[in-house]
């Protein structure tokens, strides 16, 4: 995977930075510059809290290239407290031992690796809320 492609997305991947629509107020993640709710421009950056709850989840046994070492792993749709759904792996959990509605929070973890000499790619995952 090309370095530039991942470098370009660092704010979103490491910091969960999205956008807020100045017209309808909806929070947007990932950023897309055009509000999917009202179709107006939305370019104001917005820092998400990283807190949310599990909307759905699954455990992947048949992993794609670059993810084999992590398998089996749990992937979820997380409903962020600001509104958007985000797709993310869950970490610090026993596979499958989570439930819909469970509070989770964002952490930064290794997402994938491209072979022995390739780039290690980091980004957001979610874990059960500590408090």
């Amino acid at each position: 995977m090309e370095i530039s492609r991942n470098w370009r997305l660092q704010k979103q991947r490491y910091g969960l930075v999205g956008e807020v629509c100045d017209h309808c107020g909806n929070k947007i993640f990932p950023p897309r510059d055009l509000c999917p709710h009202c179709a107006e421009e939305a370019r104001t950056l917005y820092q998400f809290s990283g807190k949310g709850e599990i909307y759905s989840f699954t455990t992947v046994y048949d992993a794609p290239q670059g993810y084999e070492e992590q398998a089996p792993y749990t992937v979820a749709l997380v409903k962020l407290e600001e509104g958007p759904l985000v797709t993310a792996q869950l970490t610090d959990v026993d596979n499958g031992k989570v439930s819909i509605g469970q509070p989770v929070e964002m952490v930064t973890r290794k997402l994938r690796e491209d072979g022995e000499r390739g780039v290690l790619l980091y980004g957001y995952k979610f874990r059960p809320q500590m408090s």
Partner: protein, 429 residues
């Protein structure tokens, strides 16, 4: 921009679509052909395409000069050849390899909806009057690669930056939807068994199907998980295969000297719709909005409602997809799509027969060719050539294929027309 989003966002409202505009002419399926779906270790991508194209041209019959009419263009549907076979540029490759060097040809890609999309391009070309005949061919060759590389390739149909990057696969996408569907509607895995049981039962008498075994509810309940709650008997197998069809304009038949021996099937409706590619970008992930939009548009063009359709081929890559498709089509209320499988409503004798030749689940899922197989099978039903799988007196058929988890939906409505009807039309034209 406002208008476009307004269309996308108006959830739950009734959509009105204008019927076919302008001077589009009627289009008929003249010939069709398909290979067996399965693991064709001995056959290359181009050879699979050749087998299907030869069969379709032969099935279309010879004209006055003793030869099949030469199509004016080829629309190839394929999803993964670039990644699995290192081969793009299939238009020129297949046109040349099939003895049609020189004609217009191009590839059409819309993930799992590629087949329906290539058929639509051929339909548009003929309906517009620019061409008298066009050929649509779907071909997929998944066994050129094995292992995690195949999973990676298939995952490229999801949102690469925001889904696949988290290790999401197409199966995982389906599993996320199925888990939420089960949660909201208080269901368990065994509630979905009826879809796979029906598909396997119908495949036993389809010579082109990958599987010819039946499965039981007990086996479904105990099948090993692929991405829970999606198990081995819930998901359709990726496979090799090719299917092709020759389309012809209503007024072109006498000019081409053709007198078909079989019934001609009219393409009565054709429509495409899209949704957000990433499942998390949809305001209501458990509603297949593109499926609903494309179906209602195609039905409106055909001038019928969904209850008049006698036979359906839906995108049963996963059981939850079928449930959501039935709900999108209005054949079941939300949360009740699974019940049509449980009570036999989808069987050959049910009120909404689906997967009548085994569907993706048991006929097999040859990626970019799948949508083409669905239309071939629907046409065979309407011609009365479905053998043991025949739906009696089938007049209207609906074939719908989906790209990834419903981000693209292509719907076609087919109508049986007696050859005398056709000749009358041709004479009037």
């Amino acid at each position: 921009m406002q208008t476009w989003f307004a269309c996308v966002r108006s959830k739950g409202q009734t959509h009105r679509f204008a019927p076919t505009k302008g001077t589009m002419r009627d289009v008929y399926i003249l010939g069709l052909g398909q290979t067996e779906v399965g693991e064709h270790w001995e056959t290359s991508l181009r050879h699979l395409a050749l087998v299907a194209i030869e069969a379709a041209l032969k099935d279309g019959g010879a004209g006055a000069n003793g030869h099949s009419p030469r199509p004016e263009a080829i629309f190839v549907s394929n999803m993964l050849a670039g990644q699995l076979s290192g081969q793009e540029h299939l238009g020129a490759l297949i046109a040349d390899f099939c003895g049609l060097r020189g004609i217009e040809a191009a590839t059409v890609e819309a993930a799992g909806a590629s087949g329906g999309m290539a058929f639509r391009q051929a339909y548009l070309a003929v309906a517009s009057g620019l061409m008298d005949t066009a050929l649509a061919i779907g071909v997929e060759k998944v066994t050129d690669k094995v292992g995690p590389g195949v999973t990676s390739a298939a995952s490229s149909a999801t949102d690469s930056d925001w889904e696949a990057m988290q290790g999401v696969t197409p199966t995982a996408s389906a599993a996320l939807l199925m888990r939420r569907y089960m949660h909201e509607h208080h269901l368990d895995v065994p509630h979905f068994a009826g879809f796979s049981i029906n598909a396997h039962t119908n495949a036993t008498t389809n010579p082109h199907a990958m599987y010819h075994n039946t499965i039981t509810a007990e086996a479904f309940a105990k099948a090993p998980m692929v991405a829970d709650p999606v198990n081995m008997f819930d998901t359709a197998p990726d496979a090799d295969g090719a299917a092709a069809m020759v389309l012809v304009g209503a007024d072109a038949l006498p000019r081409l000297g053709l007198t078909p021996s079989h019934l001609l099937i009219r393409v009565a409706g054709s429509a495409v719709a899209t949704d957000a590619l990433a499942v998390h970008d949809r305001p209501d992930p458990l509603f297949f909005r593109a499926a609903q939009l494309s179906a209602s548009k195609a039905l409106a063009q055909a001038g019928i409602n969904v209850n008049e359709v006698n036979v359906f081929e839906l995108h049963d890559a996963f059981t939850v997809f079928t449930a959501l498709s039935l709900e999108a089509l209005g054949l079941a209320e939300r949360g009740l799509g699974w019940r049509l499988a449980a009570d036999g409503g989808i069987s050959l004798k049910g009120r909404a027969p689906i997967s009548t030749f085994g569907g993706l689940k048991a006929r097999g899922n040859p990626g970019g060719a799948t949508g083409m197989y669905q239309i071939v099978e629907t046409a065979l039903q309407l011609r009365g050539q479905a053998g043991a799988n025949q739906i009696e007196n089938a007049t209207w058929g609906l074939a719908q294929c989906l790209g990834s988890a419903g981000a693209t939906a292509v719907t076609h409505i087919l109508q049986r027309s007696r050859s005398t009807d056709f000749r009358n039309r041709a004479l009037r034209a």
